[in-house]
């Protein structure tokens, strides 16, 4: 018997897509039954109360969660987000309902023994509700009380050998696509790089020292499955700078219809016979592909590595062998100054352990941003305010035509004194010798 009537939410149980309402209800039932005799450390009926408070929001059209609340574990400034219900008398089970961010493994692979341990922990000390995963990439454990926080952290570190993630004005938990583990397009080992950066910057992850959040995301190729170009302050995207490898036999097989184009991604509709000229050569954004006499030729010098030809004919075309990454900086969502896409800073960098070259760029940027960034200013905004040139200066990188889409429209150039012959110091008296007032 449900604790609260939820007529509105109940309507979300129908329809084919997995219903979070049905799922929470099964959790309510299991906790009420408590077949294993768990000594619940937070109210057993908290999922019931969560449904209750959510139903109230569906009626009121407003949230019933209070603003903020500072809670955390000793010595960390991030990883836990305080949350309190604004109707605690009605819903005591969720009066205190904090979130715990748990650092996810790179690529989001799991063994069930780890997940079961996590479930046991969250059954005993939390609401039994999670996000798999939150938008930053972390495993999110949803809903516990303050006295449980240290215990959860203790169990996570001692029994599960796993740490919390980042929140607040910290380095946020780095994330990556699955990379070379199961993708032929991945130019770099995204998982190892992501893991290494996470380990190297544990202090920055857990102790707020930044003007605002800072995100690393690692994409294995320009397809961008982890959206680093749109979401991360420091975006690392795998790429190559030599030639796309061509298997002409496979090209012929695509032409002959023996292999389905685009790995079969368009199989649900009859788009007609696959036409390499139209669908590959003519769609190449830099027009560097020629298809003649059944042979495919790529003028690699003009290739911009958009991935279209490779995505369309993965068995005939493969990424080059001289691989590394591009680094782009300053992406963010609109708050405050409008959305920003990441801007290209390093066109090509080798990605090899211990990743010292990449770390040098990171640390130079941090030194500058921590000095100059205003409170709650993302790197992209600091870049906009203080100029891309300044970013080049602090990272010791040379300006390059690749840094811009096109050169500037206005000639208001901030020349530096040392760039101008004779410097800026002049005497008005000397001027007056030649020019009357």
């Amino acid at each position: 018997m449900a604790k609260h009537k939820t007529p509105l939410l109940d309507q979300l149980e129908s329809g084919p897509w997995p219903s979070f309402v049905s799922d929470i209800k099964q959790e309510c039932e299991n906790r009420a039954k408590n077949a294993k005799g768990v000594d619940y450390q937070v109210p057993a009926d908290c999922p019931d109360d969560l449904l209750g408070v959510l139903e109230m929001s569906y009626v009121d059209g407003e949230t019933h969660w209070k603003h903020g609340g500072i809670v955390g574990v000793f010595g960390y400034g991030g990883g836990v987000i305080g949350r309190y219900c604004d109707q605690p008398q009605m819903f005591p089970g969720v009066a205190h309902f904090h979130t715990v961010r748990v650092n996810q493994p790179s690529g989001l692979y799991y063994k069930t023994d780890f997940l079961r341990q996590l479930c046991d922990l969250w059954e005993l000390r939390g609401s039994g509700l999670t996000n798999m995963h939150g938008s930053t990439g972390d495993i999110v454990l949803l809903g516990t009380t303050t006295p449980q926080l240290e215990e959860i952290f203790f169990e996570l570190t001692h029994n599960m050998n796993n740490d919390l993630g980042g929140s607040g004005s910290n380095l946020r938990t780095p994330s990556c696509c699955l990379g070379q583990s199961r993708c032929e397009f991945a130019c770099i080992d995204t998982q190892q790089l992501c893991f290494d950066l996470t380990q190297t910057y544990q202090d920055e992850l857990h102790r707020p020292a930044f003007p605002y959040k800072f995100k690393f995301k690692v994409d294995g190729c320009p397809n961008g499955c982890v959206a680093s170009i749109a979401r991360s302050d420091f975006s690392i995207i795998g790429t190559w700078r030599d030639e796309i490898r061509i298997d002409q036999k496979a090209v012929a097989a695509y032409a002959g219809g023996e292999i389905k184009p685009n790995a079969g991604a368009h199989a649900g509709r009859d788009w007609g016979k696959f036409d390499i000229q139209k669908e590959v050569a003519e769609r190449c954004p830099s027009g560097c592909i020629r298809y003649e006499g059944g042979k495919l030729e790529i003028n690699n010098k003009e290739c911009v590595r958009c991935m279209h030809c490779i995505n369309t004919m993965p068995r005939a075309l493969r990424i080059g062998n001289d691989r590394g990454a591009s680094i782009l900086c300053g992406a963010k969502a609109p708050i405050l100054d409008g959305p920003q896409m990441a801007s290209l800073l390093v066109p090509f960098i080798k990605v090899e352990e211990p990743y010292s070259e990449i770390k040098e760029v990171i640390e130079n940027i941090w030194d500058w941003w921590m000095e100059e960034g205003k409170n709650r200013e993302r790197l992209g905004e600091t870049m906009k305010r203080l100029s891309f040139q300044k970013l080049l200066e602090v990272t010791n990188l040379k300006a390059d035509a690749r840094h811009v889409r096109e050169p500037r429209h206005n000639p208001y150039i901030f020349w530096k004194e040392e760039e101008v012959t004779g410097g800026w110091k002049r005497e008005i008296a000397d001027y007056r010798k030649k020019h009357q007032k």
């Binding site: 219903s19 479930c119 938008s135 740490d163 961008g224 991604a265 199989a267």
Partner: protein, 381 residues
């Protein structure tokens, strides 16, 4: 309920303390065939919606069965996922960046059996637990935020709007018949914890009423200068006011300058702005993240406001269907939604999608606005 300690001693917080160890190394979790062939994958194929085949240079094959998940999931549900992974995949599984779950096996027969098993499991309420799909030129799972389930600033619910949308577009999740992938994302306020600012179709919670001011508590709960600095349009200024016969320090809001971003509330809890009639949803389209053919692009607002209509948001899902149907009909193979709109022209986009253009859709925020106005006589009647 007796308090159970796992070993933490609040008297001596540093005793046996382990910190800064990071996550478990991913290699511990990789399925054997993945670990063996890492970095040497030759190609992949989508055998049918939701079923992928990856072939390594060694000739090894891995079949992946992908299914959707609600993101908000309980431990009972996760344990069920574990049971399936134990039964079929030697205890291995993974999640995708779009909250799908992937089970990997090494034969096609096992993949077929898995698909059948996953599609056969339903919640008591009738919905699928693990619908197989989300690959190729279709709609995959929606990346979303917390909404009314757990957040303090949302203008709408996230889990509910996503459930309603995925129900409405479910056929596109289990098929691959669109011109290109369509990525739908949902964020419940302008903070955009999801990447909705670069999605083919974005559902975005917005507020429309300026903040209320809780003069009684503001000076105690907020740093006035921070609240003032938080406003991107300079609509907030410090002031004093009389409250119950006492002079209090507080702020004043120039309401016609407010664009309802809610950043003041984020900085100052005494300036709430949520409101049943004021809050609702904006629809944005045409964003993308991939560099494929065209460069990554921001989403554009095409419907400035749809009221919150819980539990199923019918107007919102109708608009999304209209856009998806017009795109599906009009776009060329490989053409993403925004590229299609750019090709036919946005004036035509509104026509074929049956959407009304209003003054709310002309940008008026700082410099970026100028770059969106038309500076040519090339337009379509």
């Amino acid at each position: 309920m007796a308090f159970i300690s796992s070993g933490y001693n609040p008297e001596k917080p540093m005793e046996n303390r382990i910190t800064d160890i990071g996550p478990r190394h991913f290699e511990e979790f990789l399925p054997p065939v993945i670990k063996k062939n890492k970095g040497t994958w030759a190609y992949h194929e989508i055998l049918e919606p939701g079923v992928l085949l990856h072939v390594a240079d060694s000739g090894d094959k891995v079949y992946t069965v992908r299914c959707g998940g609600a993101r908000l999931m309980t431990i009972t549900h996760i344990r069920e996922i574990c049971d399936i992974a134990d039964k079929y995949c030697g205890g291995h599984l993974r999640f995708t960046t779009r909250n799908n779950i992937e089970f990997m096996v090494t034969t096609e027969d096992e993949a077929k059996a898995l698909k059948k098993e996953l599609n056969g499991r339903k919640f008591a309420g009738g919905s699928y637990k693990f619908p197989v799909g989300g690959t190729g030129a279709g709609v995959t799972n929606i990346v979303h935020t917390q909404g009314w389930v757990h957040c303090h600033t949302p203008a709408t619910d996230a889990s509910g709007t996503v459930k309603a949308t995925m129900d409405a577009v479910f056929e596109e999740f289990v098929n691959m018949r669109l011109p290109a992938p369509v990525r739908i994302a949902m964020a419940c306020c302008l903070n955009m914890c999801g990447a909705v600012h670069c999605s083919d179709i974005a559902i975005l919670g917005i507020h429309r009423k300026p903040p209320m001011i809780d003069h009684e508590h503001l000076d105690n709960m907020c740093e006035v200068p921070l609240a003032v600095a938080a406003c991107p349009t300079g609509a907030i200024r410090p002031t004093k006011t009389e409250w119950q016969g006492k002079q209090v320090n507080t702020v004043a809001v120039k309401e016609e300058r407010c664009m309802f971003c809610g950043n003041c509330y984020t900085m100052c809890p005494s300036m709430p702005l949520s409101d049943k009639e004021g809050d609702g949803i904006a629809i944005m389209v045409g964003g993308k993240i991939s560099n494929r053919i065209t460069r990554p692009a921001f989403s554009k607002v095409v419907v400035p406001f749809i009221p919150n209509e819980p539990p199923r948001w019918p107007t919102m899902t109708k608009v999304i269907k209209q856009i998806l149907d017009a795109y599906s009909k009009g776009a060329r193979k490989y053409e993403r939604l925004g590229d299609w709109a750019n090709r036919i022209g946005w004036e035509r986009f509104f026509e074929v999608c049956g959407l009304e253009f209003s003054h709310h859709l002309i940008d008026d925020f700082r410099d970026p606005a100028y770059y969106t106005w038309r500076q040519t006589t090339q337009f379509k009647f």
